[in-house]
Symmetry: C2
């Protein structure tokens, strides 16, 4: 349906974002040149300024892309089974839900799209002047709050106690660590890649950890 004109564009902007996500994630923002991004996206250098107003605008677009994708993955994880029920879970139900969400997070971070998004996100989290505020308010903060309420339902601990917040962070932390230190883990395990069987082994270990930590924190 494109009229007649010279060049077509299924979506140059989208290709630029995907290329930038990968390269920013692998090498870092400053280590990646706009020429490199354009080449990887099969586009022209000037198209970055045209579509996003410059390199920094492309970075911001990557952040919005991440918040959208990861946000919907997390939203789906929270609503496993019953996309309606807001509250009133038994401790056993809440505990199971927590374990399931952790498994989904493990899968999401180690799946195909996660391996595109996670490195970029980790870099933004650790860099001082970056998208950290946007990503925190758009995704990390809300997700952590919901996890804390589930934690409270599961253990009987107050949802806003410092210990609760830190316990939930440590739950998430051990999952994120395996995305962060993938290269080291592969090397030590003698694994070539992170396939289905490796993922299954990791998932079972993390599930055991999560269940042990929840049980330990449960008010008896």
């Amino acid at each position: 349906m494109t009229p007649t004109s010279s060049a077509r564009s299924p979506d140059t902007g989208d290709a630029l974002i995907r290329a930038a996500l990968r390269l920013f994630g692998e090498q870092g923002y400053d280590a990646t040149s706009t020429r490199e991004i354009a080449a990887a996206a099969g586009a022209n250098v000037a198209s970055i300024s045209y579509h996003f107003g410059g390199k920094e605008g492309l970075r911001a677009a990557c952040g919005d892309f991440i918040i959208g994708r990861m946000g919907s993955v997390m939203a789906a994880a929270f609503d496993i089974g019953d996309p309606g029920a807001p509250s009133g879970l038994t401790p056993q139900e809440a505990s199971l839900r927590l374990v399931q969400i952790c498994e989904r997070m493990t899968q999401a971070l180690n799946g195909e799209e996660g391996r595109l998004l996670a490195p970029f996100m980790l870099r933004e989290i650790t860099s001082p002047s970056s998208l950290i505020d946007t990503i925190y308010e758009g995704m990390i903060g809300p997700v952590h709050q919901r996890l804390c309420r589930l934690w409270a339902d599961a253990t009987g601990a107050p949802h806003d106690a410092p210990e609760t917040l830190l316990r939930v962070f440590s739950l998430v932390g051990q999952i994120v660590y395996f995305a962060l230190a993938r290269r080291i883990v592969l090397k030590r395990m003698g694994w070539d890649d992170f396939g289905a069987s490796e993922a299954a082994t990791l998932t079972s270990v993390l599930r055991a950890n999560v269940e042990a930590i929840i049980a330990d924190a449960t008010v008896r």
Copy 2:
């Protein structure tokens, strides 16, 4: 005892390494210019080439510095109490030792020097072409192996089973996470800084986690 000549140097090389560790850690290697490093160290741009042969040489020197410092911290942590006894610990002793080592790691990563070294190390771990091999073989690998043997003594599990290696990684991972995501944790907790009382709260949570995970993995 320095002869008579013009300029003195307590140690320009050392000042350059410390400045580079901080700036590389905060901003990343590529985002940091040699001029910036020299200014922060109170030295001249040309001194980097003179002392280290160039920017890449300075990066390698930072890696060696880290391996030396962190290595001795970890060595001390393993030898708490008895710097001689090689083996033959009861499960209870091994478990306690494991918990103590985790506490030392938490302190080391969140203490003054850890806050200088950890960001740099985390960046090197996540970057593709970097010092990851050097740091792995000089520190991470050996430390992980020793932790796995302690884990085996504590739980009765084989020291080289995949589950053992992954359990130990998850132990370390949750500790590293709080160094990685410090900014996010501070924001969510409503903390201004990471002082003594905050460190105490975190340490107690992590200790509880470690003990729960060890207990869960113990062969009964």
